[in-house]
């Protein structure tokens, strides 16, 4: 809070001082582009990787790349890294909640399929 700051510092009080320069923005964008290229490459050579490491490894790699891209855009382009922590907290709370809730929801469907499988085998199952 900038209650008694001088006018000079006042309108900069959103902590913009250590903002990336245009040049670093371009570098970040190039990095993002490379990551995207890697993603597409992974997609292209998916079969080869799947043969050796299993298809799961492709999925994990793609998801990791996605998270990294997401984080870079959020932290630098949306400058969460340089802003008040409360904004990160607010955004992350929605994001984490969304991931958690929908993950549980989709799992519930999966578990249900599993349950159906159990029922097919004549094992005791759900209450439906």
């Amino acid at each position: 809070m900038s209650v008694t700051e001088s006018p000079e510092t006042h309108h900069d009080h959103d902590a913009h001082d250590d903002h990336p320069s245009d040049r670093s923005y371009v570098m970040i964008a190039i990095g993002l582009a490379i990551l995207t290229a890697v993603e597409v490459l992974l997609f292209v050579i998916e079969d080869q990787i799947a043969d050796t490491l299993g298809v799961g490894s492709v999925k994990i790699a793609l998801i990791l790349l996605m998270i990294v891209k997401f984080w870079i855009v959020g932290a630098y382009f949306m400058h969460l890294k340089f802003d008040n922590l409360i904004l990160t907290k607010l955004f992350i709370s929605g994001l984490v909640l969304a991931v958690a809730v929908y993950f549980i929801m989709l799992s519930a469907f999966e578990f249900n399929f599993w349950n159906d499988g159990l029922l097919d085998q004549g094992l005791p199952g759900g209450i439906s």
């Binding site: 809070m1 900038s2 209650v3 008694t4 700051e5 001088s6 006018p7 006042h10 309108h11 009080h13 959103d14 913009h16 903002h19 320069s21 245009d22 923005y25 371009v26 970040i28 964008a29 993002l32 582009a33 995207t36 993603e39 597409v40 992974l42 997609f43 998916e46 799947a50 298809v55 492709v58 999925k59 793609l62 998801i63 790349l65 996605m66 891209k69 997401f70 855009v73 959020g74 630098y76 382009f77 949306m78 802003d83 008040n84 409360i86 904004l87 607010l90 955004f91 709370s93 929605g94 994001l95 909640l97 969304a98 991931v99 809730v101 929908y102 929801m105 989709l106 469907f109």
Partner: protein, 214 residues
């Protein structure tokens, strides 16, 4: 920016030229910015529901023959290109904000318009993709997959379109008053929205287009 600071405690009021009044808020940031982040936070749940619905239905086709792999349905090179375009529009957006913060209205406008233009290319790509799908017989009510896919990408497309309108509106709305430093928060907020739409596409591109089912 006509920034005046009243020395008395708690009387800090700055006024600038675009109707944005900022007194000492509890977190030292404008209400607008916090509200925008709250909105984006809420939008996570919105897109989460759409993406989950798609994930649920991506193998769930009535005649029992799931779409084998995304590669069989999507034109990945084409979508990669339009994803790249949208990603680069985030770069032009930060450059626009950076220019406006430097009080460089001319470059600010150019970058804003470039961003809008890149967004339009993306939307054009999406329309093209929809048209191809439609011609191939994959229409909105064909099956659960198409309903989920068109709704998800359609919602994203609407978000991008709204973003384009906001970008163009910012450029048009500041034609007389000028796109000076004092407008940087407006540009920043439009930018936050734009980047958010971009990262939603980062997820959609990976989860819907790239990740194999099998």
């Amino acid at each position: 920016m006509a920034s005046t600071t009243v020395p008395e405690a708690a009387a800090t009021v700055t006024h600038d030229d675009h109707g944005h009044e900022e007194h000492a808020t509890s977190y030292g940031m404008s209400n607008n910015k916090m509200a925008m982040w709250l909105f984006l936070s809420s939008d996570c749940l919105l897109f989460g529901a759409l993406i989950s619905t798609f994930l649920l239905y991506r193998t769930n086709i009535s005649d029992g023959t799931p779409f084998a792999e995304p590669a069989d349905v999507f034109d990945i090179p084409f979508t990669s290109l339009s994803s790249f375009v949208l990603l680069m529009s985030s770069l032009t957006m930060v450059l626009a904000l950076s220019a406006v913060k430097r009080d460089d209205a001319r470059n600010g406008r150019i970058w804003l318009l470039t961003t809008a233009f890149l967004g339009m290319i993306f939307i054009g790509g999406q329309v093209y993709e929809f048209t191809i799908f439609s011609a191939e017989g994959l229409q909105y009510s064909t099956n659960t997959w198409t309903s989920a896919f068109f709704t998800l990408t359609g919602f994203h497309g609407v978000h991008v379109s709204v973003g384009i309108l906001m970008l163009l509106g910012t450029v048009a709305g500041t034609r007389e008053s000028g796109l000076g430093k004092e407008k940087s928060e407006t540009v920043e907020l439009v930018g936050l929205y734009w980047h958010f739409v971009d990262i939603v596409w980062v997820i959609i591109f990976t989860v819907i287009y790239l990740i194999p089912i099998g």
